[in-house]
Subunit: 202 residues, 2 copies
């Protein structure tokens, strides 16, 4: 095995260890370098061969999470093309993502309002991509100004994220209801933006 190959392998081991230690009870802030390296199977000080400090690891995790979000969008896009209903399919897909990758979603959710400005900015950027894609769809479906579409998309993402957060603490039996409620909220928003915008082109 080549040297670079091995290095990349332990790097991934560190990342995986970090992700696996995140949970409902443990956020990134309370992760310790020693615990992570212990799980990754290396000595504490070897950590520095890969990351300058825990913050650098954290930003890497956020990037990976953002990547997953983008994959999620791709998946949603496919399902929308088959299904047609943008709102319903999107929310459904997102809820599945939250259920299947709760640790990843929790990371984004927490660091969005966390104690590191760099983390907050990183998460905000990832969510921004997400909203921009949604805004693109909205413009295709309902014709309106780019600014309006963006504002509407941001509101929708905010509502969906919030529902995702609720889902983390709710039993699975409630997912359907949570989804239903959110879909209704989004429909109101879409409906209101369309008709209200027609009256006054703000």
């Amino acid at each position: 095995m080549s040297r670079a190959e091995q290095k990349e392998r332990t790097r991934q081991a560190i990342i995986n260890a970090a992700f696996s230690q995140l949970s409902a009870e443990k956020g990134f802030a309370s992760l310790s370098l020693r615990e992570v390296t212990r799980e990754a199977g290396i000595a504490p000080t070897s950590f520095y061969r890969h990351f300058a400090d825990m913050d650098e690891l954290g930003l890497t995790l956020v990037d990976e999470a953002g990547l997953m979000l983008r994959q999620l969008m791709r998946q949603a896009r496919l399902r929308i093309e088959k299904n047609g209903s943008v709102i319903n399919t999107s929310v459904q897909t997102f809820m599945e993502f939250v259920a299947d990758n709760s640790n990843v979603f929790r990371l984004l959710l927490r660091e969005r309002s966390g104690t590191s400005a760099a983390f907050r900015a990183a998460v905000a950027r990832e969510i921004q991509h997400f909203s921009a894609e949604l805004a693109h769809y909205l413009r295709k479906q309902t014709e309106c100004s780019a600014e309006q579409a963006q504002l509407q998309a941001e509101a929708m993402v905010t509502l969906v994220f919030h529902t995702g957060a609720d889902a983390l603490d709710a039993p699975k039996e409630q997912y359907a209801q949570l989804t239903r409620r959110t879909v209704l909220q989004l429909r109101w928003l879409a409906h209101g933006a369309a008709s209200y915008g027609r009256k006054s082109q703000a």
Copy 2:
């Protein structure tokens, strides 16, 4: 000074010390008992005369924050009666609260998705009160079912909270724009809920 009086005084000193150590860079989780007692002017172990552990202190802080939220609502109510515009006045009032009590708002914002289930529940309860009051107003203004009003209120609170979070990282010059955008989102929501609900009484 009576004994109970003095005790209450240092209890408040602890609470104040804790609040003052919260900041953009430091969340409740990274508060240390020793630091808090140092600022409160007592010995570390004296802490236990007032709280069983840091969690108990934290829940107290959340309660105090909820109290401030309720005061905020009362203030908003007064201003609405004079001003008339529910949405605009509410958002305005809320943004002032965030600006003037950013540490308090940050506490709620963070612990809402924090690592302690008890904290999350406590924050959720406070926000629930907030939404319920708003729902009450919505029912008076636009007639609709209680369930619809509640759902609409929750969406509005979610959007306003999110804007508050954005405001924490934004320069004050942007507050006006943030407010304007949010008001627009809320109007869409209100408008959509009214007209969409008329078509299909969900």
